[in-house]
């Protein structure tokens, strides 16, 4: 009896296996994107009809897409016909020649309508076309400011601190400022943003650090973060919080400021089914010491890896994704902020964009994090930045030591 069961299962399982395998196997265009790039079926069906190819979408979690791309590219094969390309990978993928230049493959007028496309240029060549816009903006809880008797959103970092202190002393929020301080990428990007808010930049044109001087934007930005932590304006638990977790705390109404707010998150924050602060959330231009608000873009794009089996269909897919009606459909289904300025404006005119005027105003001043493009050593540098800030926040390093550690990390990353 036992043996019969064993034999039966040993025989049927491979059969089952080959059956199930054949059901899902599909020829056509394979696309590798994170969950928020996974288009609803209605859209993929429409693409299949328009382009005459079936779309085989592969979804992977955020951290894992990169592992997957690198494994297959080092092994010498394309992971899919079209894949996610994050702004932070541009230097690496560009210098490795892993992606097909798209300059002569996508309509120039479309590219001109996408300001963040410049972030995906390496050596002048366009490696990928943005499908999701993202930049940082100040998001705040207006009800907290009203209760503390503050009329307008802060315009400078000092005003931000003063407002936070007023909110705290009025007992409205225990820790009014939301900033991630864990050893994760969100911590680094928040510091880069504050560096720009203090009028600074990370590197000069030769990639020499510009943040080591005590008067530099980067130094002041880190001192601002550590000072706010010591003054009890940032939750000490922030040393363990990723950016997304800080956002959960904001949604629960426990934060006044989401300092490094994601532009695309405004629609989430103002949705009562997902947020307890839906009626109180507002956005303002990033505070700045210079009078001119600055922010940087962290868009996500689609590119075609070299050696892709179906590069032509991938090119059609990228062009199709950048059509206004598809960007709008993706915004409505997935909340991806459209990369095309014309589409953003249309959405705002139709009243579909939360805090649209501020968003558009901030979108107009979006710059790349590093003017000459994301270098190949950026990921290594950025990990070291997050670790050093995390150590400073835990009290293991002083601000001076942390800045020195970051400068050393920049030198190490570049020397390799």
């Amino acid at each position: 009896m036992k043996r019969r069961v064993f034999l039966a299962s040993a025989l049927t399982l491979p059969l089952l296996a080959s059956f199930a395998g054949s059901v899902f196997a599909a020829d056509g265009l394979t696309v590798l994107l994170p969950p928020w790039g996974t288009l609803p079926k209605e859209m993929t069906d429409r693409f299949a009809k328009d382009a005459g190819v079936t779309l085989d979408a592969q979804t992977l979690g955020w951290d894992d897409i990169r592992t997957k791309i690198i494994t297959s590219m080092v092994a010498g094969t394309a992971p899919a016909d079209a894949t996610e390309v994050d702004w932070s990978w541009v230097g690496q993928f560009g210098s490795a020649n892993w992606y097909v230049p798209l300059d002569d493959k996508i309509d120039k007028a479309v590219i001109a309508d996408i300001p963040t496309a410049s972030i995906f240029r390496y050596d002048g060549k366009l490696l990928a076309v943005p499908y999701s816009n993202d930049f940082r903006i100040l998001i705040y809880n207006k009800a907290h400011l009203d209760k503390a008797g503050i009329k307008a959103a802060p315009k400078t970092p000092d005003e931000l601190l003063a407002a936070a202190k007023a909110v705290k002393s009025a007992g409205i929020a225990e820790f009014p400022i939301g900033l991630p301080l864990s050893a994760t990428e969100g911590t680094s990007t928040a510091w880069y943003l504050l560096t720009k808010a203090f009028g600074g930049d990370l590197f000069d044109k030769d990639f020499k650090p510009l943040f080591t001087d005590k008067d530099s934007g980067g130094y002041k930005a880190l001192a601002f973060e550590i000072g706010a932590l010591k003054d009890g304006l940032i939750d000490p638990a922030a040393t363990g919080l990723k950016d997304v977790e800080v956002q959960e705390v904001f949604k629960a109404g426990k934060l006044t400021f989401d300092v490094a707010g994601w532009a695309g998150n405004l629609s989430v924050y103002s949705d009562p089914s997902k947020s307890q602060v839906a009626n109180d959330v507002a956005a303002a231009l990033m505070p700045s010491t210079t009078g001119k608000s600055r922010t940087f873009g962290l868009p996500e794009a689609v590119g075609i890896p070299t050696g892709a089996a179906n590069a032509k269909a991938a090119q059609d897919f990228i062009a199709w994704l950048a059509m206004p009606q598809n960007e709008i459909a993706a915004y409505e289904a997935l909340g991806n902020l459209p990369p095309r300025m014309s589409v953003l404006r249309t959405l705002n005119e139709q009243g579909k964009l939360k805090q649209g005027d501020v968003l558009l105003e901030q979108a107009a001043v979006v710059e790349p994090l590093i003017a000459q493009g994301t270098p190949g050593w950026y990921p290594q540098f950025s990990t070291a930045v997050a670790s050093s800030i995390n150590q400073a926040a835990k009290g293991q390093l002083s601000v001076d030591d942390a800045i020195a550690a970051i400068a050393k990390a920049a030198a190490d990353a570049q020397s390799n």
Partner: protein
Amino acid sequence: MRSLISTLPGRIGTVLAVTLLVAWSLGPIYWSLVTSLTPPLNLLGAPSLWPQQITFEHYAKLFGATSMSQGNAVQSVWPQFSAALANSLITSILATIVTVAIAAFGAYAFVRLEFPGRDLLFVAVVATLAIPAYTVMIPLYRLMISLKLIDTYTGITLIYVSAFLPLALWLMRSVYQAMPISLEEAAWLDGAGRIYTLVHIVLPLSAPGLIASAILTFLNAWGQFMVPLVFSPTLATKPLTVLIPEFVTRNYIDFGLMNAAGILAIIPPVLLVLFLNRYLVSGLMAGATK
């Protein structure tokens, strides 16, 4: 031993130890269950051991007609979830059957048969336990591409077998070594062949070891993440362990959904362990009468 259990302090000690073991194993899982039943907005309140308000919305997101992704209504993820569940089961069961079969027969050769390089081969195979997945991943990927085994059950199963065979082999070898050779010798004297002896005398007596190897292999395969992440790009073979983290997105950590999916993911292996365990217990009974 028997008298110790029947004494009162011994019995109390046993009960205490069982309670401790159950609390240690189930506590975090219970907490995961509670989280999966708590409405999202209540998750940020003070924790309570029993959810004040029970919701099945996280499960509904997995089973319902519409699902949520990053908080947006999209098509039901149930077809994906069930396909991934089937993939997890198929790859884990195939890997278990093949691994235990190879180990059961191979270990016998390492214990009872003489052949050149025997000990060296055994040590080399067992030493591969120590190889980190990253070390072999990229060459293995190249190999699988050239064999056209990416995204196939055969490919995944082969990799699992190569990863879990050393442990099963080692375990089976130690089981055979502990077994008195006299039983086999009696059979040989009766004219039974090696294979007959192995299948009809040695294997039945090794039931606890075989079941233990099966449980180890199955659970190791069930928990795999790195291998399927790279070798199972689509739902044709993608298992639950790769599907579930996709619910954590950069924009939206859905603790409720993650925990609900995790709770569902532990049901099949637990059923299997319960099922196998019946054989483990009966194997013991057989051992008791020998």
